[in-house]
Symmetry: C2
Subunit: 366 residues, 2 copies
């Protein structure tokens, strides 16, 4: 700490260090360190601890976390890897992570990969170089070299909203099967017999799980099982959702409802409805997945599977804390409960008659 004269007093120019605190308290820096750290305070006498703490306050001492990190090889920071923060699904998850970690003194280094594997490698590398104490990944794919590297290393890692079997990586995911089950049951109960599914990328666990659940639920409810009622998307994007619905419509298949793999895909469906003058839910019911913020503001408000975004993040953070504490890692999925948010985008199918609507689209001419 550098002091310079200013008039008849002195002002400090640089930030006070532990040495300064120790000097003021009349103890050795090591003792000051012990007194200031709650975990080691018991090693000092109450009197000493008191003097040191008072000195620290007087100097407005703030421990230099960088120095501490270098010494302890722990940085009290966590890397959070998401595809894109502007996708409204992720901010609530991030806030859940923050809520669980900030009280314990961790800071979040957030990076966006834009689903670019090369960029992801690079970003994760930069996070490791900053010696983050752990990593929360929302970008896991089923075939993902990086995950294998991470699984082989000893940095604590938790996956959120994605699982990856066969590797010792814990994950926190929504109950995809239950969610799709609820969606299909809801539509079946409304009278829908021919339901289409716009499936998400099959290199993501959610894409696969939801498609599989869709097939199972359709069978269970004895609804139309037709391969042509399923359209797959290459990414979880609005554009892909739109493309998929267009293809379904153009294929001439008849269906009165569509379950999109997630809300972004459902948003794409909405675009097509507008384009083609299809009225939702009168002509076509639409269901999404995730209950992203603001889908309740759409018109018609989107019926979707609600997942506990915040809790997903918080639980992932808790798993990470456990992992950092116990140095053990294992494949372990936490399934978060979901529910169906029924809104205006679903209603009875257009034709009250039990027969299928005419071909050429969802009950529409042409």
């Amino acid at each position: 700490m550098l002091l310079v004269p200013a008039g008849d007093s002195v002002i400090k120019v640089s930030v006070p260090t532990l040495r300064d605190v120790a000097a003021l308290a009349g103890v050795h820096p090591a003792t000051a360190s012990r007194a200031l750290n709650p975990d080691t305070r018991a090693m000092t006498s109450a009197d000493t601890a008191d003097r040191v703490i008072r000195a620290a306050e007087q100097l407005r001492y703030r421990p230099n976390t960088v120095a501490r990190s270098l010494r302890t090889a722990r940085s009290s920071s966590i890397g959070v890897v998401v595809p894109d923060l502007t996708n409204p699904l992720f901010p609530p998850i991030v806030r859940g992570i923050e809520a669980a970690l900030a009280p314990r003194g961790y800071a979040l280094l957030i990076v966006n990969t834009d689903n670019n594997p090369a960029q992801e490698e690079q970003l994760v590398g930069s996070l490791r170089a900053r010696s983050v104490d752990g990593l929360i990944l929302a970008t896991a794919r089923l075939s993902h070299p990086l995950l294998e590297t991470l699984a082989a290393g000893d940095l604590p890692v938790v996956l959120v909203n994605r699982r990856r079997e066969g590797l010792p990586l814990p994950c926190v995911i929504p109950d995809d099967a239950a969610g799709i089950g609820l969606a299909v049951a809801h539509l079946a109960q409304l009278g829908h017999r021919r339901i289409a599914h716009i499936a998400g990328p099959q290199d993501t666990s959610t894409g696969v799980a939801r498609l599989r659940a869709f097939r199972a639920a359709v069978q269970e409810h004895e609804l139309a099982q037709d391969k042509a009622l399923i359209s797959q998307c290459g990414s979880w994007s609005e554009a892909q959702g739109a493309r998929a619905l267009r293809e379904l419509l153009d294929s001439g298949m008849s269906f009165s409802a569509v379950i999109a793999g997630n809300d972004m895909l459902a948003l794409g469906c909405y675009d097509v409805l507008g384009e083609r003058g299809i009225v939702c839910p009168d002509d076509l019911s639409v269901v999404g997945f995730n209950d992203m913020p603001f889908v309740d503001k759409l018109r018609p408000a989107l019926t979707t599977v609600r997942i506990p975004h915040h809790e997903l993040g918080a639980e992932a953070a808790r798993l990470l804390l456990g992992q950092m504490k116990h140095f053990q890692r294992q494949e372990h999925s936490v399934l978060m409960p979901v529910e169906l948010s029924v809104r205006q985008s679903t209603g009875p199918p257009p034709a009250a008659s039990p027969g299928p609507p005419p071909a050429g689209g969802p009950g529409l001419a042409g």
Copy 2:
């Protein structure tokens, strides 16, 4: 770097350090450091540099940023302070910041204040303890003790989406006056004579600037100037926007259009439209500000003032870089251009006659 035997070869257990690279290249660590750092590479012979770089690659050496930070007193990380990442306005701004800083090796520590000053103080404290090289604040208020503290310190700081006069803090803000001017002009041209304004918090620069601009524009266009057509909000929240519109409607004032201080307030207006069966834009036109992601998906799609979110963040980051480079700071506002995104929430006023619509609401009975 620790090596342990594994069969007839060895595997490395710990991460390689500069010493290891130097040893492999047969030079002193200091030389290796110089060779690896582009800025000091010229101090080494091409041959040495080559050998060192090759050794680093071979060992997959990654410099330890923490050690570097301790030595250089720069952390290559930047603190980003936002009210709430789940407000869709902020993710694009954050991505703009990231886009400008990540290529230069900076990582982002993002914190959410929830508009809680105490929490904000604490979080900024924790960022400083992590010796961030600079701070980008999206939370500035007009009366804000923290800003004065920061302005007095020597940590580079830039404000984004908010300005604060009287302190040497550069800021990047949208052209609020121009935006409101465009909105009023658009409505005036559609034939509106009585326009209401739902003003944002008057302790924020944007709240003040937009209200002032509204008054000026209304006068310029010779529209109804009535204090009772202005309702103020305590926060930029949907709930406050709804409350404000309800009060305007209940006051019995007549108006055919409302300009909300931002899109969150406009969203609150939409809630009230639903509640009261008011048809937008037939009964009431609504304009927002910010063009938050997804407001184009509302029905009716929201007419709003588009601000360049990404550029706002990127420009703030650039100003910060300049500040970090030149150690100089000054009050300096960068005004970002805006434009009006005309969508379906605005249309001609309900009464084609030039006279004001009947009292009791925006052209509605009761």
